[in-house]
């Protein structure tokens, strides 16, 4: 596609672009998305620089949000509701919040893909999947900043209480983040495909994500539900094994279940697959229905 100036020599039956009403279910052009990697990175840069223009604190806001959430959780769930935690409560909460936030922002932001970008999509063609992928990538930057804060908090308790967890399990972190990213992306593009025509889903997402947090071991450890009749519900949640494993990897608490992670990975793959098919179907017609 790049140096295609010599188009006269192309054979008559070779076309670079074919526009058809319906594409086959699995026709999906990863190569094309790769060709737009520059655009993807520029979107990441835009998201990041534009968000904090004309703010005084800038990226520091990334610290403030999880910090305050941790404090509130500490007061409400630990001190008032007395829900037990594993390890140092503050570290426990922040660890869960960090990874949960990543999922939630990925899902929220990608689920709006079509609606918020309608003005660009209506004027120019590029593979639409570039947008949700760039959202997931730009949130990795935010996640990394919040992860640093988590490490800072761990170091603080490490100095004051003399216990700092560090081990080979840290190597699991990138894998778990990737799983979270793909899960958020998959769910996000499915929802974004649905919202173009039926805006009902916008309402659903806004409170659905909040409620989902309570069905995920963010404010409580999975062990809290041991021997409880609710345990299967929590275990069916594909986020559960990832969050538990993340805690296990970073602070050495929580349960690491290979079986659970395989379940999550399978779930993610199917979700992503369905999502891509739906997204691909909608991107052709959404300008007429949005």
């Amino acid at each position: 596609m790049q140096n295609n100036t010599d188009i006269t020599s192309a054979s008559t039956d070779k076309w670079d672009i074919v526009i058809k009403p319906k594409s086959s279910l699995f026709e999906f052009n990863f190569k094309e998305i790769w060709a737009y990697k520059d655009l993807m990175l520029l979107f990441v840069k835009r998201d990041f620089t534009a968000q904090y223009k004309q703010t005084i604190l800038g990226p520091v806001w990334h610290f403030i949000q999880p910090l305050f959430t941790t404090i509130v959780f500490l007061v409400v769930f630990n001190k008032i509701a007395k829900i037990p935690t594993e390890g140092e409560p503050a570290v426990f909460y922040m660890c869960g919040i960090t990874i949960w936030n990543y999922f939630a922002t990925c899902l929220n932001a990608t689920s709006n893909t079509f609606v918020t970008n309608a003005s660009i999509f209506g004027k120019v063609y590029f593979p639409r999947l570039v947008i949700p992928i760039s959202v997931v990538l730009s949130n990795i930057v935010k996640f990394s900043i919040q992860f640093l804060l988590l490490l800072g908090l761990m170091a603080y308790y490490g100095f004051t209480k003399g216990h700092f967890y560090f081990g080979w399990t840290w190597l699991l972190v990138p894998i778990l983040v990737l799983m979270m990213a793909l899960l958020g992306l998959g769910a996000g593009i499915i929802l974004s495909s649905l919202t173009t025509k039926y805006r009902d889903f916008v309402v659903l997402i806004s409170f659905g994500v909040q409620l989902l947090m309570y069905a995920t071991p963010v404010i409580y450890p999975l062990s809290f539900f041991e021997n409880s009749k609710y345990l299967p519900f929590i275990q069916w949640n594909p986020l559960t094994p990832i969050i538990e494993a993340f805690r296990y990897a970073v602070i050495g608490e929580g349960t690491f279940s290979m079986q659970g992670l395989i379940y999550s990975a399978t779930f993610t793959t199917v979700l992503l697959f369905v999502g891509i098919i739906m997204f691909h179907k909608v991107e052709k017609s959404f300008m007429d229905t949005v």
């Binding site: 790049q2 672009i17 526009i19 058809k20 660009i120």
Partner: protein, 443 residues
Amino acid sequence: MSIVIEVENVSKQYRLGQIGTGSLSHDVNRFWHKVRGKEDPYLKIGAENDRTKKGDSDYVWALKDINFTVEQGKVLGIIGRNGAGKSTLLKILSRTTGPTTGTIRGRGRIASLLEVGTGFHPELSGRDNIFLNGAILGMTKQEIRSKFDEIVDFSGVERYIDTPVKRYSSGMYVRLAFAVAAHLEPEILIVDEVLAVGDFEFQKKCLGKMKDVSVKDGRTVLFVSHNMGAVKNLCDKGLLLENGQMKSFGDINTVMQNYFKKGDATEGVFFSDKLEKSEVVAIKSLKLLNQNGIVTETFDIGDDLTVELELESDMDIENPNIAVGIKSQHGFITIANSMFDGTRPPNLKKGLNYVSITFKDIPLLPQQYFLGIGMRSYDCKTFLMTTKDIGFFAINTTMKDLGIFSPMAEEMVRDSVTPFIPYEWDFGNGNKQSFNILSNVRK
């Protein structure tokens, strides 16, 4: 010449009314047909897209069975009245929406300029926006970097390049946006007429750049416009759409004649329907004559141009106002307007009426021209008739005929604008009224 774009049986169906109520049941019905291996039940219905008539179907064909090919290096002008399907066709070609049926094949990259500055972020600097906008339009970072200096040069906003674009004046914003677009190098460029909105300088730059792109670089351009002067100047081929269907395709001159005329009318004679339902006057025929009384579409500099109008009115109208303007690709050049010159046209009676106007010694440069004609009621509040771009004619005198041999002259006159032209109304029965703004000044 190889074919770079091939459009085959392309149709596009839209659903009228609000999406929401009923669309779920339609979706379910559609799915149920699909499961049983039947055809989509809603594809069968769908009326021709004539917005002036009330249809009984919820579905309309915005485009129906469009077939054409474009060769490399050609400029195709897509013309038609509002709602003919031009924009829908552009949207499908630029892949912002899919066709309902049919296939489009293209060679090389297709870039569409349906607007400039798509994706500009107000908070980002000019520099960042050049990269972002360039990438959105399909350039790689490498390409943008290599052309960056050229783009900044072309835009003329070098001093502000690190300032957020929200601080730019609207002119600077558009210049920067256009500069990026102008440095795209796709094999196929799709341009909407909205691009040509802006100041005169900017229009000239846009249109000039388009000509360059096709002539010098051998790129193919698809151009949609209402500006008949620009279309005629720029395009080799034309595609005329009417109510979503192809009415004519081929040489631009033939297509334009089909746009303006009905049946096998002779040169220099035009017709126009009522554009809006509320209008009560239609042009039954419009004739262009020179000082020798010959009906023609070609004039020389200094000829008299007479426009003879045969107007059909639905009712008696007391002292209507009439305006006849000459347009070039840059818009109106001069307008003979009874609201402005104080002449009083007589009453229009129900049925046929005749009005003519002569523009004296037309000092028009060799370009393509059009007429725009309108009528309003005595108090100017009601539109009786509006026509857009009817009656085209050309000035054929070359600069060489005038003894000007500078190689730049032809190019210069293509882009020049002429001033006021004296004229004389003839409202029939010897009721002639002339108007010359210059003689008024000197009195």
